[in-house]
């Protein structure tokens, strides 16, 4: 037990303009869950990408069972028994779940792909992580949380000695997190060494054994998982951070957004609610309850079969994002890579995307104004970057998330819909985002917030709507809501509900 299965020594890795890792050490034992903790951009993902063969280190070495090993690519990692779940998923959106689960190892019969065997394997793997999804569904249609579960299933299929998980819980609700933890505990007891990255501090004591803290690319501490949260934050940020939810209820005004009887067959049914000026309404529910689908339909990103959406009393044409935006709606989508960001473009470019139209005078875009605004937002959110021209692709996950939120903050939408706004964002930056939500409602804007992070919904909303199986099943005032209360509603079995 004491002998390290995997040991990294003095790992150093530079990218143009930044030293992402600066002499990092990590020692990983069989049968432990080792948490990697650090701010956005501290180097966590870079470290695990070296262990999984995605990057080569500039300096330093990796040992397994005491012997130095070369991990040149994913194949080497697999042969060494290292399996990785990346923060940004590695799934092919247009292939089915089953094909993704067998990628690179398609079962063959007489030289042809054995579809039946592939489906069977997929079903087994999905059962292990306990998600109900048809293996023939294209991954594109899954939604972020289920994509995450498919990623997990894929990593488990490799029977690894070392399992690396980069923020697997960022998009999961309490229920899925529970299932995931059960799997992680079982693997740990079987002697697998597990690296676990998370920004949810309360998970650390629950699932972790030891914690390595990274700060600015250096490993600054190795502490037991039982270390108090305040102490962990201090180690990671270098100063204490007040982790209280800073929600400051604002004065309520007229309803800005009213949704009446919104229905799309197979997704959501007869959804009606209002959000008033100055109000933050939280939308809670399990994965697959239809929250994201409702949000996208309200914003005009998807069609709906029946119902109406009003902004400031004016009815929006269905399926028309542009009209929704003109009316003052905004949506921060859950899938930053697929829907939120132009990964190959610069940070400044991305931050200016929503305001591009408004910044056009006499046909010409006010590029200077756009840049000044972008610089201000980047500063406000503390985006860790080498400059506004850095490609968003090369930002750390949490910093990418800040860009998605930032581009909508710049737009000053009257009603902002936030779908998983703090996904992958570190504790200090979360508080920044909450402050910005307060500032929005103070100035009479309205916010509809979807989050799988229940404490966040409870802590930041004035009113909470709960969805289950495509229907609104309850409404709670913030001061009377509890986690258990919300969960009890979220698992409501709606009579005559759709089959999943």
């Amino acid at each position: 037990m004491s002998e390290a299965t995997l040991r990294a020594e003095g790992l150093t890795k530079s990218f143009p303009g930044v030293r992402a890792l600066d002499g990092v050490d990590l020692s990983l034992r069989a049968g432990e869950v080792h948490v990697l903790l650090g701010e956005n951009g501290a180097g966590k993902s870079t470290l695990i990408k070296i262990l999984s063969g995605a990057y080569r280190p500039d300096e330093g070495r990796v040992l397994m069972d005491g012997r130095p090993v070369e991990i040149r690519d994913a194949g080497d990692a697999r042969r060494l028994g290292i399996s990785t779940i990346y923060q940004e998923f590695n799934l092919v959106p247009d292939l089915s779940v089953a094909e993704n689960l067998s990628l690179g190892r398609l079962p063959r019969r007489f030289g042809l792909v054995d579809t039946a065997a592939m489906q069977r394997r997929a079903r087994e793997l999905l059962e292990r992580v306990d998600v109900r999804v048809d293996p023939r569904t294209p991954v594109r249609r899954l939604g972020i949380a289920r994509m995450q579960m498919v990623e997990i299933a894929k990593a488990l299929s490799l029977d690894a000695r070392v399992l690396i998980m980069d923020e697997p819980t960022a998009v999961l609700t309490t229920g899925e997190v529970g299932k995931l933890f059960a799997i992680v505990r079982r693997l740990r007891d079987e002697g697998v060494a597990i690296v676990f990255i998370t920004h949810h501090l309360e998970e650390i004591a629950e699932i972790g054994d030891r914690v390595t803290v990274l700060r600015d690319g250096r490993s600054v501490a190795e502490v037991p998982a039982g270390t108090p949260q305040d102490e962990l934050v201090r180690l990671m940020v270098g100063r204490p951070v007040d982790q209280q939810f800073p929600r400051r209820p604002a004065e309520l005004g007229e309803p800005l957004l009213s949704v009446r009887g919104l229905t799309r067959r197979g997704a959501f049914d007869d959804v009606s609610f209002e959000v008033r000026a100055g109000e933050v309404v939280g939308l809670a529910g399990l994965v697959g309850a239809g929250r994201t689908e409702v949000a996208r339909a309200v914003f005009g990103a998807d069609r709906y079969d029946a119902g109406e959406v009003f902004v400031r009393g004016r009815r929006l044409p269905p399926h028309d994002v542009h009209a929704a935006m003109e009316a003052g709606l905004g949506l921060v989508p859950e899938d930053r890579k697929g829907q939120g960001l132009v990964l190959g473009a610069g940070i400044g470019e991305n931050l200016g995307l929503v305001t591009l139209r408004d910044a056009t005078r006499a046909g010409f875009v006010d590029l200077k104004g756009q840049r000044t605004a972008a610089a201000r937002v980047a500063e406000q959110l503390g985006i860790r970057m080498t400059g506004l021209d850095q490609e968003v692709r090369t930002l750390s996950g949490g910093n990418q998330q800040k860009v998605v939120i930032g581009k909508w903050l710049a737009a000053q939408a009257g009603v902002l819909i936030l779908d998983e706004p703090t996904r992958g964002v570190d504790v200090a930056a979360k508080v920044e985002i909450y402050q910005l939500v307060n500032a929005l409602t103070d100035s009479g804007h309205a916010v509809l917030m979807i989050s799988s992070d229940l404490p966040e919904v409870l802590g930041m909303s004035d009113r909470i709507l709960v969805m289950a199986r495509g229907r609104l099943v309850g409404e709670l005032r913030a001061d009377e809501a509890t986690q258990d209360g919300v969960m009890a509603l979220a698992v409501t079995d709606v009579a005559g509900s759709r089959a999943e």
Partner: protein
């Protein structure tokens, strides 16, 4: 758009990575001026400019399309159809030449709009829609002209002349169109939107960009640029020919890609495209001066295109 680097060494290599095509052009020019004493003469260089002009103008139009992640195979045919339209309406139709010019540009724009409607609303892949237009426009050019060249109106064929006895007008038109393309791409809303669409169409849509409308503009611009190229080509030859510019769409695409654009969209600049077109023209010219056979020229140019894009891909991978 690379981020800043520490040392001067890495900075210059970053510049090279950014401007690989420029470096290639410089190397090519130096090599050819050493190999052939005729290469560096003013007459010859202007000749290269004239040869590059038509490809470059077509390629500027293709740059818009490629930046959005699309492709336009119809530009050569549209160029021929537009020139034929001009010549036919001015001679057979008896229209005054300015009206004929407007009509010719309108033809190019119309072809582009048809492409765009098929792509944006009919959801056809750009490759298929514009492949169909390649056939349709070429066919119409042949139908209208009944297969034979039509002479250009006098006033328009001055476009093939030189100003001040030395500067060929095609070169001038190329530069003007290049500046127009650069301004559209860099400074206007549709231009910036093209990059966003090519980079991530869904993200662009959810940011309030009317993707279909921008695609209409994109392909219409490509058609308009093709029309200008067709008229310039016809003016140089003093007649509009239905078979003119056949296969030029591939040169245009090659120029854009050599100039650093990515066929998967989101990347590309007018200046790069100009350099790409110049590289192709310099190469052809140099191979002629060195009396390399036309057959071998094709081989060499093919190799150069492959090399240029290969180097580009490798350096991209290197920086990631």
């Amino acid at each position: 758009m690379r981020s800043k680097q520490g040392g001067t060494d890495s900075r210059s290599s970053a510049w090279l990575a950014e401007n690989g095509a420029v470096a290639a052009l410089v190397v090519l020019v130096i090599a050819l001026s050493l190999l052939s004493s005729d290469f560096l003469s003013l007459t010859n260089l202007l000749n290269v400019g004239v040869q590059a002009a038509v490809t470059a103008i077509l390629a500027f139009g293709s740059t818009f399309v490629i930046v959005t992640g699309g492709i336009d195979l119809s530009v050569g045919s549209v160029a021929a159809l537009s020139a034929i339209t001009l010549a036919w309406t001015a001679t057979e139709g008896g229209l005054p030449w300015p009206a004929a010019v407007v009509l010719s540009l309108a033809t190019g724009v119309a072809c582009g709009l048809v492409n765009a409607v098929l792509i944006a609303y009919g959801k056809l892949p750009p490759f298929i829609a514009t492949l169909a237009m390649l056939g349709i426009a070429r066919g119409l050019a042949l139908v209208i002209s009944q297969g034979s060249p039509i002479s250009m109106p006098e006033a328009v064929s001055h476009l093939g002349d030189t100003v001040g006895r030395f500067l060929p007008i095609p070169v001038l038109v190329m530069l003007v169109m290049g500046v127009v393309a650069a301004i559209i791409l860099n400074r206007t809303f549709p231009g910036r939107a093209m990059y966003a669409i090519g980079g991530n169409e869904e993200a662009a849509r959810l940011s309030g960009i009317k993707v279909s409308r921008i695609k209409l503009i994109t392909y219409a611009l490509s058609g308009a640029f093709a029309a200008v190229a067709g008229v310039v080509l016809a003016s140089r030859l003093a007649s509009a020919q239905p078979q003119a510019a056949a296969g030029y769409e591939l040169d245009a695409i090659a120029a854009v890609v050599i100039g650093g654009a990515s066929l998967s969209g989101g990347k590309g600049r007018a200046l790069g495209t100009l350099v790409g077109a110049l590289i192709l023209a310099v190469l052809r010219n140099g191979l002629n001066l060195l009396s390399v056979s036309a057959f071998w020229q094709q081989v060499v140019i093919g190799v150069v295109i492959a090399l240029a894009v290969l180097v580009d891909t490798l350096r991209r991978r290197g920086t990631n």
